[in-house]
Symmetry: C2
Subunit: 386 residues, 2 copies
């Protein structure tokens, strides 16, 4: 039985602790929790039972010998340093998303994981959505040919001012490291790259504190360019109460549209677009459409997902646990967390510099620019840059 400690008993940490304590993860059991806030530990004592060990510092947890692995569910900035400590102490680590706030710290975490020989995973729970798994496999298999365009509108992250006022650190540069790009959208920043690959150039138009009393990003309109010349867009905001979640991928041999992360429509073209382009006239295509024979151009498959939110987290944890036991490949290796951080950093850096930037970004430049925002905010000390 894998003995698990939960580090950080906030909203997410409590959820993880509860399903672990309830025995809902095969092969894993909650044995300890850790938080610097006495109230969080008191919550753990009353809600999880006094047999779960409680620690006010991670050093004490690591020294206790009471856990084989930890899940890190602290504020984002602390993910890499705490994960590194745990890995160096010989523990397996599952880190909450995002992997970190800036890539320099995530590189250090990935290096520590690499040399540790321990298992390192990341809580990309939406990767367990069967719909996205199938789409990733489909796109990566090459059956639909080369990607030409990717558009994701993900405005369904409505957050009122009361949400932002929950904690001092929330929606600050120095405490949280940003807004929608570090907190809500990391799932889509991961999925879009997991399915369609990593953009090489990024532009973003970002509004900071759009219709909210915050200084960080909460309205983002980004454009992507991929190595093969494909283009893309990524749009996210927190002020649309009836938000849109719509992903479109155009490929040479098909087209995919995903609505609300629940329904995917997959078109498979009878001929590749390259071939249609060279062999068909516009009139041919118009005739097929107008004549109601569009089905000669493509077939349609619809897939639906009914996965709930809570189930997804448990699936990632079970996958992590199973990997440790029998080596089943990890659905969400921790080392892949850097992709989403890179993309978020690229969007912010593009907005700050007012120009398109390469992805991955220059990590030193990003950190220097982030420190300028932390200094202007005046609430937290700058991050050490060297």
């Amino acid at each position: 039985m894998l003995r698990i400690g939960v580090v950080g008993i906030g909203n997410m940490g409590r959820a993880h602790a509860q399903y672990l304590a309830a025995g809902q993860i095969e092969g894993a059991a909650l044995t300890a929790v850790c938080d610097i806030a006495p109230a969080a530990l008191e919550w753990a004592r009353t809600q999880l039972g006094s047999e779960i060990k409680r620690f006010a510092s991670i050093d004490d947890l690591l020294a206790s010998g009471s856990v084989d692995g930890v899940i890190i569910a602290t504020p984002h900035y602390d993910h890499p340093p705490l994960a590194i400590k745990a890995l160096r102490a010989g523990l397996h680590v599952l880190v909450e998303k995002p992997a970190g706030v800036y890539t320099k710290q995530v590189h250090e975490m990935n290096a520590a994981a690499e040399t540790s020989g321990r298992v390192f995973g990341i809580m990309f729970n939406q990767r367990t959505n069967e719909l996205y798994k199938k789409l990733r496999d489909l796109v990566q298999s090459g059956e639909l040919g080369e990607i030409r365009r990717v558009n994701w509108i993900i405005n369904s992250w409505w957050r009122p001012d009361s949400y932002y006022k929950q904690s001092e650190w929330r929606a600050t540069w120095g405490g949280e490291g940003g807004g929608v790009l570090v907190n809500q959208a990391p799932h889509q920043l991961d999925l879009v790259q997991w399915i369609a690959g990593i953009p090489t150039k990024v532009w973003a138009k970002i509004v900071y504190g759009s219709h909210r009393d915050i200084v960080v990003d909460n309205d983002v309109t980004a454009t992507f360019t991929y190595a093969n010349g494909a283009t893309g867009s990524f749009i996210t905001a927190t002020h649309d109460p009836v938000g849109t979640d719509r992903l479109e991928i155009d490929l040479n041999r098909g087209k995919i549209v995903v609505e609300d992360s629940k329904k995917a429509t997959i078109l498979r073209f009878a001929k590749s677009e390259d071939e249609m382009n060279t062999t068909m006239s516009m009139a041919d295509v118009m005739r097929l459409f107008m004549g109601g024979q569009a089905d000669k151009l493509y077939t349609t498959e619809t897939i639906e997902s009914t996965d709930g939110w809570g189930v997804q987290h448990r699936k990632v944890f079970s996958d992590f646990s199973r990997h440790i036991v029998d080596g089943t490949p990890l659905l969400a290796p921790g080392s892949e967390g850097i992709n989403g951080v890179n993309l978020a950093n690229a969007m912010l850096l593009s907005s700050w510099l007012g120009r398109e930037v390469d992805n991955p970004v220059d990590e030193d430049l990003f950190l220097a620019e982030l420190n300028k925002r932390i200094a202007a905010e005046g609430k937290y000390p700058p991050i050490k840059e060297d």
Copy 2:
């Protein structure tokens, strides 16, 4: 009876000539056509009848006294100079879209129309789509509050290489002045501003000759900023055979989604988003959604349009004709054509300079940059910049 001449007997000019000759526009009749190509005039003789006067030069047409108004349906670059000639000759002018290729020439046309005292319209046929008319009225009325975001994906302009090879001038810088932004997308570039207002800043990522044997724009991903801080995106391409046409507008008191220019879903919020933000918690909103009581947050109205393509052109012509007869306000005043040209120019200039640009653009800078592309192409002389 208004006597009409059609200038330019290409694809669109033939369509206009035919419905006019068939008496389908009340109060207007075709009396003459004009084209520099003998084959086009021969087509007119056999298809329209020999009673329709035929001219090989616009000067001869204007001197003939055989028309009260003209529709200009030549290649784009010639719209302004020919419209100016006709206006100065005392004729009413209906110009095909786009108003021109670069705003400098469109300003001259608008000034000529202003001083002429004649009627000046533009063939924005999609403005006659009842759906878009209703949405414009709704948004402009202020009932849904201030706009926050506008997204339009309009990839349904599939064009194969055979289309681009139809004429020498097509899809060239010197002959046509560009690609999807001057030829296919001007309708949406007009509608998006007619409905939601004019963006003040524009960025565009443009691929030239994406999957096509052309040198001009055919894959565009643009971001907008509006004066009130709202943001937007505009995405268009010619290589998606099953294209998307989806417009979304988020406002403080509602949301609009238009699919395929045929179906609009209008949500009216029970409270403005500003009020939801200050009075509701996330938990309140989640409860309403999860409890299946989302209808407490908003009401839904659906409107559908069945307008066909051909009908729309005749509607613009009838509107133009009616305005001349009885002064009914023009649905598509010619002077508004500059908005779409500005936006297209801003996208191209942004792409050429690699930075966000103001809209309207610096017209001299745009023309100088356009001339660089014409020179590099080497097929047409540069445009006079004076």
